[in-house]
């Protein structure tokens, strides 16, 4: 059992030293900052895009220029796209062996524990450094089952080219919002996964995104197709060292969950605090399919992240489990969206947020039940914990119900530790401080247990604390 006596009486800032080590900028190629048709053309040429993709990029750029910035959400004043370098190619081609990756890049991933995790607990790893994937490998036995796990550029011209074309930005069209349009214009890197019917990938795949170049943007595209009756657990990690200039992450994740299939998508986002993380994630789930999201948002200066699930097939379901930890200077606007578009669909959204030291955390959600979604059920629960009165915590849920045969519940809570619970624990022999620490430790527990082990340890480092006057 932990010794409470040695714990501190405040929430500590997370030790970011591992993440903040910078490599010297050593790109083999980068475009000028800003966004013009010439820059988009140049990116397309450098990446040897098929013609349809070149046209897609230019059309997306046009959409980007026509769309206004969102009229809601955190301020984006500190972000000027004219200052952002949208494409930085690292000084290496993609490798399938870590030994062939240049030392400086390899060492960065070593420090982040990626190769070790691959050896111990992953079925495959993709590692992106700035705008390009530098390493991709999948275990032979997994590949033998027909599982495809590759960088998306290779997929775009390889045997799965038609499949990629059929799905690319179909769930998140560039017209969705301004930063989806930006992504459509300058996307680079990311992963493509295809799990054939009935195949269960027992150990997870992981993609790790590292942005090293200052003032750069990362726009990776992740496309995952889990076919009928298949199973996959995919882990996404992201980090960057801290610079004094704004960096931008506007990735896009599109997930297709086939009939009776199940996909678990875990993310630990730990960007540096100069990062604008404006990421879009969306899943479409067919009949009897299951989509599970686990999402931890710890880093970045500003985040707008609301994974969306479209329950398209009868009896499909989704679960979203999320935690957001907003510290000094951070404005983290996170949550989830779900559309029930078929009968007997189920959604369960459960989130926790912690704000400390002037941090702002906002939970935002949308539950839409379409007229055809008879017999559907939805439950949303969000709990917020404020550590001090300099911080903010807002809860903005919306429900739009267009069907009478539904069961929709929503609960939101913000408050202090129950005095009764403290009294009870003290009556069992704990000191008051121990009792408070125990209750606060329990606050994040339901989320921690959903995380892969190494991330749960990382999160516990964050929340190994004792505090007074908070929520139970």
């Amino acid at each position: 059992m932990r010794s409470f006596e040695t714990e501190k009486t405040q929430v500590e800032e997370f030790d970011r030293s591992i993440y903040d080590i910078k490599d010297a900028a050593n790109a083999s190629f980068e475009v000028n900052s800003g966004l013009t048709p010439a820059i988009v053309q140049k990116i397309s040429e450098e990446k040897h895009d098929p013609e349809w993709m070149r046209l897609f990029r230019l059309k997306s750029l046009q959409t980007y220029n026509e769309m206004p910035l969102p009229s809601w959400g955190p301020p984006l004043d500190g972000l000027d796209i004219e200052d952002i370098v949208t494409y930085v190619r690292p000084n290496t081609a993609m490798r399938a062996k870590w030994s062939e990756v240049p030392d400086d890049i390899k060492n960065t991933f070593e420090r982040l524990g990626i190769p070790k995790a691959e050896r111990l607990s992953l079925a495959g790893v993709g590692a992106q450094y700035d705008s390009e994937v530098v390493y991709h490998n999948v275990r032979a036995e997994v590949a033998a089952k027909g599982v495809v796990y590759t960088d998306i550029e290779s997929a775009l011209t390889g045997p799965y080219a038609e499949m990629v074309r059929k799905h690319f930005m179909k769930l998140v069209p560039p017209t969705d919002h301004k930063f989806a349009a930006l992504h459509g214009a300058v996307w680079s890197g990311g992963s493509f996964v295809y799990v054939p019917p009935g195949v269960s990938v027992e150990i997870p795949l992981q993609s790790y995104f590292r942005l090293n170049a200052p003032g750069a943007g990362q726009f990776e595209h992740t496309l995952i197709i889990v076919d009928k009756g298949a199973y996959l657990h995919f882990i996404e990690g992201c980090s960057a060292p801290k610079y004094n200039v704004a960096n931008l992450h506007a990735g896009c994740v599109e997930l297709f969950v086939g009939e009776g299939a199940r996909l678990r998508y875990s993310t630990i986002e730990n960007w540096s605090k100069n990062m604008y993380n404006l990421n879009t994630k969306r899943a479409r789930v067919e009949k009897d399919g299951i989509m599970e999201w686990v999402s931890g948002s710890f880093g970045s200066h500003t985040s707008c992240l609301y994974p969306m699930t479209i329950l398209k097939g009868e009896n499909s379901r989704m679960e979203f489990t999320g935690i957001t930890f907003a510290g000094n200077g951070q404005n983290l606007d996170t949550g989830a969206k779900v559309v029930h578009a078929a009968p007997h669909t189920t959604s369960h959204i459960s989130t926790k947020s912690i704000s400390r030291d002037g941090g702002i955390s906002t939970f935002r959600s949308a539950v839409v039940v379409a007229p055809e979604a008879v017999g559907s059920k939805s439950a949303v629960a969000c709990e917020s914990l404020m550590i001090d009165d300099r911080s903010r915590s807002d809860t903005i849920p919306v429900m739009d119900i267009r069907c009478d045969d539904v069961d929709v519940g929503h609960e939101a809570k913000i408050g202090r530790i129950s005095e009764q619970a403290i009294f009870y624990l003290m009556s069992r022999g704990l000191s008051e401080d121990d009792a408070r620490a125990l209750i606060v430790g329990g606050f994040a527990e339901p989320i921690a247990k959903e995380l892969p082990l190494e991330y749960a340890v990382e999160m516990n480092n964050l929340i190994h604390l004792e505090m007074k006057g908070s929520i139970g």
Partner: protein
């Protein structure tokens, strides 16, 4: 288009259509007509005054509606209460073809330690295409108790705006009872500034949407004082092709130490084509608070229905019983029995009219 009516205190995705009402108050410039507006006998301790209560915030419906009422008001009732007034003050408005518009500016100033019940009822002739717009400003001084009961019983061709703005000082209590049973388009919004320590705001609200009725609500409890309390509870029925949007916000501002806010909504959906939107916000800038929200949306509980029917009630009687039970916390706070009866009869009639949607 001006879009400041019933604005959500913090905006969210535009595609959800909850950020505000898409209408423009300036389009409803009233004719210069005499209103039918009757102020009942003043209870002992209540007197009419010339000036409305000062120091109240903008209403929940927003500046645009407030300015509209202040500019075009054709009726008003400003009162001040002293001491404990036992009997309620009844203010009635009526719309008919000769008096199709009522723009009423009402104000209640409750002196220290006083108590007052103010009942606003609006009705109309069945076919009249009318507009009812009201702004009621409330100032509850230290230890005062104000109960404001608003009954919107206007007909199906009317549009109504019921805006409320209140300031609640130390130890004072403001109760708002809102009964939304009328108008084709019924909008309402209250903003309550809980300024003083131990100030309280209680909202009990019911609505019944049927046909193509549209109901749009924006209530905000602003906790500024320490140990303040807000209890906002709504029960509603949606039938036919009706739509309803309830925005309810508990806003804990910095310094509102030990404030407590609870909000709940129960929505009974009686039709496949009704549409319910709910946006319950909790905004928090203070650590030592307790805020909670809960919403339940769905059909009548089938187990309870089965039980009641097994005890000999017809399905219609069982439904009526269950709806009345949900509406009781609000209806019970209407001080006049005849008004309670009128509300319950109207609810029963609406249920009967929508009988076919239950089958």
């Amino acid at each position: 288009m001006n879009t400041a009516i019933n604005q959500l205190p913090v905006r969210t995705w535009n595609w959800l259509g909850v950020n505000n009402v898409g209408e423009n108050a300036a389009l409803f410039v009233p004719q210069n007509s005499e209103p039918r507006f009757v102020v009942g006998p003043l209870p002992a301790g209540v007197q009419q005054v010339q000036v409305p209560a000062q120091g109240v915030p903008q209403s929940g419906m927003g500046r645009e509606v407030d300015e509209f009422v202040l500019q075009y008001a054709n009726a008003s009732c400003f009162v001040a209460a002293e001491g404990d007034t036992k009997t309620p003050l009844l203010v009635e408005g009526f719309l008919d073809d000769a008096h199709p518009q009522l723009v009423a500016h009402n104000s209640i100033y409750a002196e220290k330690g006083s108590s007052i019940t103010f009942v606003e009822v609006s009705r109309s002739a069945t076919q009249t295409k009318g507009l009812l717009a009201s702004l009621t400003q409330v100032y509850a001084a230290r230890g005062a108790k104000v109960r404001l009961v608003q009954l919107v019983l206007t007909g199906d061709n009317c549009k109504s705006w019921n805006a409320v703005a209140a300031t609640v000082e130390e130890g004072a209590k403001f109760e708002l009872v809102r009964i939304l049973l009328g108008s084709a388009v019924a909008s309402a919004g209250a903003r309550v500034n809980l300024a003083g320590q131990h100030g309280e705001f209680w909202l009990d609200q019911i609505y019944f949407g049927d046909t193509t009725r549209s109901i749009d609500i924006n209530d905000v409890a602003e906790h500024r004082g320490e140990d303040t309390l807000s209890e906002m509870h709504t029960a509603g029925v949606l039938a036919g092709d009706s739509t309803k949007l309830l925005r309810g916000t508990i806003d804990f501002q910095r310094g509102a130490v030990h404030a407590v806010g609870h909000e709940s909504e129960t929505v009974l959906l009686l039709s496949k084509t009704a549409r319910n939107k709910t946006a319950p916000l909790i905004l928090c800038g203070e650590e030592q608070v307790e805020g909670q929200h809960a919403a339940t949306i769905g059909r009548l509980n089938q187990k309870q229905m089965y039980y009641l029917c097994s005890r000999g009630l017809s399905p219609a009687a069982a439904r009526r019983l269950m709806v009345e039970a949900q509406f009781a916390p609000a209806v019970d706070k209407i001080p006049q029995e005849e008004l309670q009866k009128e509300v319950l009869e109207l609810v029963a009639r609406r249920l009967d009219e929508n009988e076919e949607s239950f089958e």
